[in-house]
Amino acid sequence: DIDDVGHKYYLELELEDVLDRGRSVSCTAEVLYHLGSTTSAPDVQVTVQGELRSTEEADKEFYNRIRSLEKELVAENIPDSHGNVPPELEPIHLLAWVASGYVIWQNSTENTKFHLAQVKHVKQVKRSDEDLQFDYVVLLHEMVSQEVLPWQVTVLWHPQRGARVSQ
C-alpha cells in the first residue's frame, strides 16, 4: 500500500513460450494500480532475465506472405466454435494476443481478469509505408463479471519494429 497513491505489486514470473513449450524465461515486474482510478491504466515495469527466442525467419516469411496477397486479408472467428485455427491464420491469432494484451492492460484494475476469448473479425488494411496494418475486433472475457465484450483494436506490425497498437 502506498498512501494517497495506490497499491504496488512486485511479481516474479515465468514466461513460457507457447510455440516452444519447455522453454521458459524468468522475469520480474512492478505493477502500480492507482488509487480510486478507473480511467488510468496501471503503471507497469518489466525486466526480462534471459533471452527470448529469435523469430526472424518466421517473421520475414509472414511479412512477405501478407505483402504479396492480392486482396487484403479478411477473416473471422479465430478460433472457430470448435477451437480450430487454420495454420495459415495462426500468426494473425498470435498478433491478436498482442493487441489484446494492450487493451487488457489499459482496462485492468485489481478486480478484473481478462482473457482473449476469440478474434471476431480481422481485416488487413494496405498501407503505403512498410508496416502491415490489421483492424481487429476481439472478444475479451472478463472472469469476475463473466462478460464477453467486443473491442476494436488496430495493430501495426513490422518484422524489425514489432507490434504497435494505434488507437
Partner: protein, 376 residues
C-alpha cells in the same frame, strides 16, 4: 519349453479333463503342437495372431475416427439434438444399466433429460449427481458428461473400480442442464452463458443458472441487472431448469451423497462456500477428497488444478448450485472448472477433449471411491 498360462490362474489348478489356455511365441508352436499331438492332448487355436488382435482393438486409427458404442464420436462437440438422440440410444441398448428420464421442461419447452446409471443390484443404493452445461458456452462440460457415461458402460465389466461404483451406487447424469442456452450457443451466440428466459422490462434474455439457487440468493457476486451475465433472476428458482433440478435433488436428498457440477474454464476443483469466506463443518473429509482427486487428475498428463473453497479460490458468488446442494444436506458438493486457463478458454479444441476427459475421469472416480469409504 515355456508357456504363458492364461487359464487356469495357477499351474497347480491344472487337472486332467479340465481346459487350459496358453499363449506361446509363434516359433514355440513348432515344438509345442507336435508334443500335444504325441501326448494325445486335443487342442484348438483360439487366436492365431495375438498382436493383430490387440492392434485391431486399440490403436492405429486417428483420433477423429475413434468410434465406439455404435459409432458415436466422443472426441467432438455434439449439438443438443445429437446428445438427446444419443441418450435415447443408450436407454434402448443398455436398459440393464441406463434409465433415461426427464425432471421437467426448460423455458423454451425442451425436456430436461437425466440418465440414471447403475446396476439394479439392491433395492436401496446411495447416489451421485453429476450435471454439466449449467453455463451454455462451457462446451467441454457436456462433452465430459458424455465421456463419463461412455466410460462407465464400456469398462464396468473389466475395471474393478467402475464395477464397484456401478454396483454400489447410482449415478444421475444430466449431460446438458441449460438446454435452451446450449442450443442458443450453437445457433446464435457461441459465448452465451445464461438461460433464455425473457425479461419483462428489458430487452435482455436469460438468468445465470448458477446464481438462481435459494442460498443467500443475490447477495455478493451476483447482479440484479437483467442484462448482466451474472443476473440472479427476479427471485430464487425463477428458472424452470433450476426449479426442476432443485425439486429432484430435494426429493432425493437422503439418497444423494455427492453433487458434482462441471464448468469451464480455470482448472480448479472447488467446494463450498462460494457465498462467504468460511470453513465447512466437514472440511477435513472434503479437503482430503479434493486433494486426492487433484493428484489423481494430475497423474494423467501433469495438468495442475488448484483446489479449495470457491470463495477464496475463484471468487465470491451467491446462489450457486454447489452451495445449495451442500446446504440441502449433500455432504460432498464440488464444482469443477475444467481446462484450460485462458489460452483457448471456452473454445477448447476438440483434440483436447480426450485428454481433458481422461484426466477428469480419474478425479471423479477418486472422489466416488472416497465417498464409499465413509468420511462424511
Amino acid at each position: 519349453l515355456q508357456v504363458d498360462l492364461w487359464q487356469p490362474s495357477s499351474p497347480s489348478h491344472i487337472v486332467e479333463g479340465a481346459v487350459a489356455d496358453v499363449r506361446v511365441p509363434r516359433n514355440t508352436t513348432r515344438s509345442l503342437l507336435p508334443y500335444l499331438q504325441q501326448a494325445n492332448i486335443p487342442y484348438t487355436i483360439l487366436i492365431s495372431d495375438l498382436q493383430q488382435a490387440i492392434e485391431n482393438q486399440t490403436g492405429g486409427r486417428p483420433h477423429r475416427n475413434r468410434r465406439s458404442l455404435s459409432g458415436y464420436n466422443y472426441e467432438v462437440y455434439h449439438s443438443l439434438d445429437e446428445i438427446e438422440d444419443w441418450m435415447h440410444y443408450l436407454n434402448r441398448t443398455y436398459s440393464d444399466l441406463v434409465h433415461m428420464f426427464s425432471v421437467g421442461k426448460s423455458y423454451e419447452g425442451r425436456s430436461l433429460y437425466v440418465l440414471k446409471l447403475g446396476k439394479r443390484s439392491r433395492p436401496y443404493k446411495k447416489a451421485v449427481w453429476i450435471d454439466c452445461g449449467i453455463h451454455a458456452r462451457e462446451w467441454i462440460g457436456p462433452a465430459f458428461c458424455q465421456w463419463f457415461v461412455k466410460e462407465a458402460l464400456q469398462t464396468y465389466q473389466t475395471d474393478p473400480d467402475m464395477r464397484r461404483m456401478l454396483t454400489q451406487l447410482y449415478f444421475y447424469i444430466m449431460p446438458v442442464f441449460n438446454v435452451d442456452g446450449y442450443h442458443f450457443s450453437w445457433t446464435n451466440d457461441r459465448f452465451w452463458r445464461k438461460t433464455r428466459s425473457k425479461n419483462m422490462r428489458f430487452h435482455c434474455h436469460g438468468v445465470d443458472a448458477n446464481r438462481n439457487w435459494k442460498v443467500k440468493w443475490c447477495d455478493e457476486g451476483a447482479s440484479l441487472h437483467p442484462c448482466d451475465d451474472t443476473y440472479c433472476g427476479p427471485f430464487p428458482e425463477s428458472e424452470p431448469e433450476v426449479k426442476a433440478v432443485a425439486h429432484f435433488l430435494r426429493k432425493h436428498r437422503k439418497q444423494i451423497k455427492a453433487y458434482l457440477s462441471f464448468h469451464a474454464y480455470a482448472q480448479m476443483l472447488l467446494y463450498p462456500y462460494s457465498y462467504k469466506y468460511a470453513t465447512i463443518p466437514n472440511f477435513n473429509c472434503v479437503e482430503s477428497a479434493a486433494y486426492n482427486a487433484v493428484n489423481a487428475l494430475q497423474s494423467a498428463y501433469g495438468v495442475r488444478y488448484r483446489y479449495g473453497p470457491a470463495s477464496s479460490t475463484l471468487y465470491v458468488s451467491s446462489g450457486s448450485s454447489m452451495d445449495w446442494a451442500y446446504k440441502n444436506g449433500i455432504p460432498y458438493a464440488f464444482a469443477f472448472e475444467l481446462r484450460d486457463t485462458g489460452h483457448f478458454g471456452f473454445l477448447l479444441p476438440e483434440m483436447l477433449i480426450k485428454p481433458t476427459c481422461t484426466e477428469t475421469m480419474l478425479a471423479v472416480k477418486n472422489i466416488t471411491l472416497h465417498l464409499l469409504k465413509k468420511c462424511h
